[in-house]
Structure formats: C-alpha cells, structure tokens
Symmetry: C2
C-alpha cells in the first residue's frame, strides 16, 4: 500500500504530496533527459484535452476563431516592442543552426515564448478597414521559456496554454473584452472545474512586457501560495504602432487598432485542479474532466461466481456507455479488488461501481463516491438516474469545499504585524495600500516574498485610511500573497 499510495498528507506537506501524486497517478514522467521538459502521460493528456475543449468552446461562443501560427519568431519581429523584448529576452530559446551544424541560419529564430510578435506581424495585412474589426483569434499551443527553476505544470521550459489575440476599433471595446475574458475564465475555471480565483489588476511594476495593464486570475494553492492561472492584457496601441496595424475608420481616418491578449494557463489550471481537489488518497476529479468517469470493479472469490458477476459488469458498462459516459470494467485477474480500489482512487475516478454476488442477487449496485469516500446501494433500475445526479452533486461538493478553503485563506490586515503574521501562516492578505513600488519592495523583503497582487477589477482609487505596511495614506485595497 505504501508503494502504491501517497505517503504524506496534503495539509502537512503539500510540496511532497504534489510530487508524489504527479508520479503515482501516472500524470507525468520527469526522467526525460532535458531539464525542464516533461513527458505528459495519457492520464494527464486526457485531462488537459478536456480543459482545452472547455476553453475553446467558450472562446468560439464569443466569436473567436482558431488559427495556428509558426513556432518560430524572427529576431526582428521580437524586438519591435521595447518593453516586450525586455520582459522576455532572458528566457528565449534560439535556433541558430541547421543540418550538420556547418550551416548557420542567416538570422536567429526564437521559439515562441508568447506570440504577440508573430500574430501582429500578420494583423498588419489582415486589418485594413473597420469592417475587419473586431478580429478575435486564438491558438492552443506549447510555449517555450528558459526558466531557471521549474516545477511540473506550474513553471516549465515548455508549457501548454491558449493565447487569444483580439483587435478592436476603440479602447472601450478592448476594455469590454477584458471583462469577457474574465467571464470566460469564470465559466470554465470556476463553474466547470470548481477552482475559485481572484481576478486582479496587477500593479504597474508587475505588468506583462508591452501591456498598458495586466489583469490576472490567482487561485490559492493548499500551502497558501497563490498561482496565476490566466491573464488578460490591455495592450493599448503599444504593439499596433511598431507593427503598423491600422484601419480606415468609418469617418475616413486611418487609426491604430486597440488590442488585448488573453492567456488561459491550461498547464497551471491542471496543476490547480490536481492540488485543490486532491486529498490524501490522490486525485479527485470532477466528472466532466475525468478520463474515466465510472470504473466498474467485479468482486468474486469463487470461479463459479465469475461469469455472473462479470456479466453484470459488462451490462452496466454497456448501459453507461450508451448514455455517453466514459466507463471501464477493471477485469484484471492479477490484482485484488482492494488493490484496484486504491489505484482508481489515486487516479481520481469520481464514481466506482462495485459488483459482487450480493449485487447480482439483489439487483443492486454499490456506488462509491470518490469525493466523499462514501458507499451506497442503488437499485439497478435507478443507476443511470443516480449517476446523472452524481455528476452535478460531485461538482457541487468540490466547489463548496474549494470555496470554503479559499475564503478561509483570505484575511484582512491593517498593521504591519497583522500582515506579517498572516503571510507567515499561509494566508492571503487584503489590506489598504499606499500604491508605491518602494513600499511593495520593502514588504516583499520583510515577509520573505509577500507580493502585492493587485486590486479587484472594478476597484476605484480613493481614501482608504492608512497603508497597512508603511502607514502613508492608502489609495487602494490590495491583495498580498506569496506566489508560485
């Protein structure tokens, strides 16, 4: 059992719990021989694909269309926006050679660390008139950044995301898009995956390189550190100018477009899903995202019972498949039912059906809920209806738990002492703030990494008493946290 299962408690040692669950549930393999590049195993790939599908569906509902841009970005594109190149230069992988190495490329090619400078090069061709606006395109791809410290699904040299790049005739429409992106995140990350988050406007010193403003979703991980899981940038006209993306407006004037980009961090959303819903036995997955939604375990101890037990398992499998569920019978003979229970619990399968002789004789099924670790008997004829009910009930349970944890982690503070104490005990602080970068730096140093994460999106500056950290007049209410 100790080999098979997780050997630490999530609440006591999250870091070790996370490392174990990634390996033991068969999500990733870290033994590939290039540092910071991981192998995504089937169980993870199926979860990630489900997350991609959810976002793509929402993006398409709001008028986005899929594209695929080249992986490589020539150096000259990359350097067009000054703050952008400053923000990313240190992290770029460069292709410089081809073939046997004797042939150098005539110019270096960057692996996309993000694709503004690829997309907007083409936007100057595609956008000519107000009729071409808004333009809303996205791609689902891997991106590449030479990160010093990596952690699977949280920070990697290769990671998976979606990037949506939108262009508008006016700044008002661009600002409206930021709300639409927030709503898109809410629908997927909160409504479907049950991961709560704060949507914050980052302070000016923590913006994306090349953005006027950055808005981002922070969730809270079990150890109290926040993880940024999606971000939207108000790019203003900062890229439109160097890339010369202009349109002839209805009034006959040629104008620069207003742009936004939105990046749901699919990798990090998977990390949050694993970490927030998981328990001491392993993963706990919502039904919609689970690679196997219902696992059926036959239980018999005599060969004479095998046929009738397995027969019932197969009938239930057909029934559930017919209703569209991803269902599997675990008929392996080399493992005991107990071993199988542990394995599928570790992998987070939300619903387990146990079928033994008693279930055959009484026309019932024993139904196990992974989220509650609780069993109940259900008559055969009620099974389909019950599974349908569980779909919603399991998601509700996970959402409630996650929300309770999330809310319990946010505390108000009005003094330096309270800020320090809260951050030390793994809390997120909500506090009045003066708005100065020096104060933020001082706070960060004194608290071993506490960062000003920003204000809520609809927040208006005003008089909020004294800054909890420095005592100067406070202009904002901000959230402060240690971050991944």
């Amino acid at each position: 059992m100790s080999e098979q299962g997780i050997t630490v408690k999530k609440s006591e040692n999250f870091s070790e719990w996370y490392s174990q669950v990634l390996i033991k549930a068969g999500l990733v393999d870290l033994r590939y021989n290039v540092q910071g590049f991981i192998v995504h195993r089937p169980w993870l790939m199926r979860i990630i694909r489900a997350i991609y599908r959810m976002f793509e569906e929402e993006l398409e509902k709001t008028g986005h269309e899929p594209v695929l841009f080249p992986l490589v970005i020539p150096e000259e594109n990359f350097e067009k926006e000054k703050e952008h190149v400053e923000g990313f230069r240190a992290e770029v992988f460069w292709i410089t050679e081809v073939g046997d190495g004797s042939e150098k490329l005539d110019r270096k090619l960057a692996l996309r660390p993000t694709s503004e400078t690829a997309f907007y090069y083409m936007y100057s061709y595609w956008i000519q008139s107000w009729r071409d606006l808004p333009l809303k395109l996205y791609q689902s791809v891997s991106v590449y950044r030479y990160e010093k410290n990596t952690r699977p699904l949280m920070r990697g040299r290769e990671f998976l995301w979606i990037e949506a790049h939108d262009a508008f005739a006016t700044h008002e429409e661009a600002l409206q898009q930021i709300r639409e992106d927030m709503e898109n995140s809410r629908k997927v990350i909160w409504e479907k995956l049950g991961i709560p988050f704060l949507f914050l406007r980052r302070p000016p010193w923590d913006k994306f390189g090349g953005a006027e403003d950055t808005y981002a979703a922070d969730t809270i991980m079990p150890d109290g550190r926040v993880l940024q899981i999606s971000s939207t940038h108000d790019l203003g006209q900062r890229f439109a100018k160097p890339f010369n993306v202009t349109f002839l407006d209805k009034d006959g004037q040629r104008k620069y477009v207003w742009q936004t980009c939105y990046g749901p961090g699919v990798w990090r959303i998977a990390a949050a899903l694993i970490s927030i819903h998981g328990d001491d036995k392993g993963l706990v997955l919502p039904v919609e995202v689970a690679p196997v939604q219902v696992i059926i375990i036959p239980i018999y101890y005599k060969d004479a019972d095998k046929e009738k037990v397995l027969g019932k398992c197969r009938r239930l499998e057909e029934l559930l498949k017919g209703a569209g569920y991803r269902v599997q019978v675990d008929a392996r003979e080399e493992y005991t039912p107990g071993y199988k229970f542990n394995e599928w619990e570790l992998k987070g399968v939300p619903i387990r059906l146990e079928v033994g002789v008693k279930e055959v004789e009484t026309n019932t099924v024993t139904v196990f809920r992974r989220d509650l670790l609780r069993k109940e008997k259900v008559p055969d004829e009620k099974l389909l209806e019950h599974i349908k009910y569980l779909e919603g009930a399991i998601l509700e349970e996970l959402k409630n738990r996650a929300k309770n944890f999330f809310e319990s982690r946010i505390v108000n503070a009005t003094s330096r002492q309270e800020v320090k104490e809260a951050l030390r005990s793994g809390k997120i602080v909500k506090m009045p703030f003066c708005g100065r970068e020096e104060c933020a730096n001082d706070l960060k140093e004194a608290t071993d990494g506490g960062k000003i994460r920003g204000t809520e999106i609809d927040f208006k500056e005003g008089d909020y008493g004294k800054c909890a950290w420095c005592g100067a007049p406070a202009r904002q209410i901000v959230y402060v946290a240690k971050a991944y």
Copy 2:
C-alpha cells in the same frame, strides 16, 4: 468575380489552381516572414481539427493512448540509431543559445523531425515485463524539417501530423500492427474523407531511416503525381537495441521489444482533400469535415420582405443547430446573394439553403448541393430528413468521382516505351520489375523523376516475366509514379 474566384481550371493548371484555392478560400497565409513556415487560418484549422479527431478516435478504439513528448531531442538521443541520424541529420533545426545569446546551451537540442528518439528513451523505463506490452501511444504535434523546397500542406519546415509508437513482444504482433494501421488509414482517409490510396511496401532504398521496412499510402493528385499521405514503419529491433528497450518475457528471458511507428500525415491529407475533391469553383468538402456544413442565404429585394425572409432563415438555423449541424445564416447586407453564393462555393460549404419570398410563401427551401452544383426545392417539413440524406449522398458522390479518377490514372505497362509514355501523360504505372536499385535509378533518370513506389502489402515475390524497364527477369509487380 475574377478577383473573388479561381481563375484557372484545375485540370489545366493544377499547380496554379492549388495556389489560388489556398489563398482565396482563406486556408493559409504565406506572407509570414520566415521561409517555409506558414500561417494556418481558421477555415483550414477547423478542417485540420476534424481530421485529427477522426484519426484520434480510430487510434483510441484500437488501444492507443494520447501522450505529449517534449519538442526538443538532445543530440545524444538523436544519434543512437545510425541510419536514423543519417536519414534526418541534414534536416534538423538546432537550438544552441538562450537569452541574450551570451549563454550557450551545454549541448545542442534538436527540434523533433520525428520522435522515435524521444519516445524510445522513455520506453526503456516504461517497459519492464511482458505485462507492459503491447504499449501503444500517440501524439498529435507539429514537426520540423529544414526542407529546401516547400509547398503549403505538402512539404514544409513546420508541418502537422500524428505519430503513433507501438512496442510488442513479438515480430508477428508488430506485423499485425502494420495491417491495423493500414485499416486505420482506410477508415479515415478513404471511408470518411473519400481519398483513395494505394498502400505499398517501399523498396529497400526508399525506407525510413532506421526501419526494416516502410509501408506507405500514396494518393494520386490531379496532375498525376502521387503524394505520400501516411506511413507505417516496421522498426524491428533496430531502436530497441541502442535504447535498450527490453522486457522480461513469460519464459523468464529478457528480450528486446519489436516496434512499429505510424504517421498519418494530417497536413498532406488536408492537401489531398482540397486537391482531389476541389473543382474549378474552389473547395468541395464532405459534410463531416466542413467547418460550416450548411450556409443559409436570405434573398430579398424590398425592405418589406426582409423580416419574413430573415425570420425563416433563423428558424431553419435553429432547426439544424438543434440536430447538431454546423450552420450559419449569412445576413450581411453589404454583399449580394450572388456574391455570397460564390464565396461559400469557393470555401466548399457542402449544402446551401436559399430562402426568398417564394420559399416563405410556399413553405419550401431551395437546397443547393456544392458537389453537383445542382438546386432542388424541398418542403420545409422534409428538410431535416433531406439534409441527413445529403450527408451520405455527397460523400458517396465524392468517393465515386475520386475513385473513378484514381482508377483511370493507373495503367499497366510491359515495355520501356509504355512506361515512358504513361509517365509523360501523368499516369501511374503498374509493371513487372526486376527489383534492382540500379534499374530504378535508370528509370528515374530517363523519365524525369519516375519512382518505384513499391509493391502491394500482400504481394509475394515470384516469376513475373520480364522487367518492363530493363528486360531482366521480373520478381515483382510494382507501381511507378512521379511524386511530390
């Protein structure tokens, strides 16, 4: 019209027709500023995604699971199999630098040109016992090859495919997998997409680097050249040995695995789909793969009619959406119905509904089939049933046409004169062959590129009279063609 539509006939100038259809139907943009790297526009991405889904579904039905391996392959992996590195070295893009260029990587990283040497590095960890076999994994990714001459969707420096990598305990199982791969290709490429192909065993001098044998699907393009659209390689134990992929068999012996890999060329399948079904007006798409399956065009000339015509269009849209179709009403007021007809014909939408005052008054719809360029009136209450019928009927029509063309292009030859004549007139030659590479080279040179493409998979060597080219005793019947 000449600006909007294709200006050449497919049968007269296929190359120009192809270039025009790619641009005018909004499939690709070739103006991105890195040679050989193209931008995939939304209409193409939706077609490509549909093709991916079809293959993934079939692969999963036969026990394959999705994974994602790193893009980068360290030089030391890449060099482990001698013929493999010989086959690919000239085409590899190498990452050598990071950041501002002052930092060199301690070793070069290849962008995957194909992923045997990434996968099999991990297979040595994952495969230990006969219980771990067969192992059947696939990934849907872009690959990178520094090709000298590129052509969109046929040969690119970045292109899209699936690669499945399977490992077995015996060579027999591996050979059986090659048949399964052929069947997978048949189900998708022929059954669903209506693209006919020959499945051939390549001659030894035309194998994949590192394979014992290569089997590949060749379709015939409108100009009579063949295009390889998928391939399966019998890798024997050639990679298992350098990567040390062994298993403890039931008999207690440690053995090397037997491997195959299968690559449906999603990009090239899209090229074949466009080229083979397209006509002088543009794309012609089967319903299953069309981004928009039904386009509804309102027709009215007086403002007084607008409301009732558009109202009916919206009702039809709801009806078809409810039945699961991808349907759209083209209500743009700045274009005439005629302009819209041409545009959607160019884009290959299989079914068009025309709704005017007459259709409103008579409770009918005018239904236009893109494949036959033919209209008919259908009563409202029969519409859904009729569309369902058209789904199959259109595919059947496209398959029949493609099959007729395909079969008409293959001719038998028994003399040098017949071979030359057939290849000159854009035909594929079926002929007795001596089996010698020198003869193949001579034929290729004398016919300006005619290549021995191989024998049919179940072909047995024997006495087949005289080689049509050199007159020596023939051991095989082979197909000969000019190729992309």
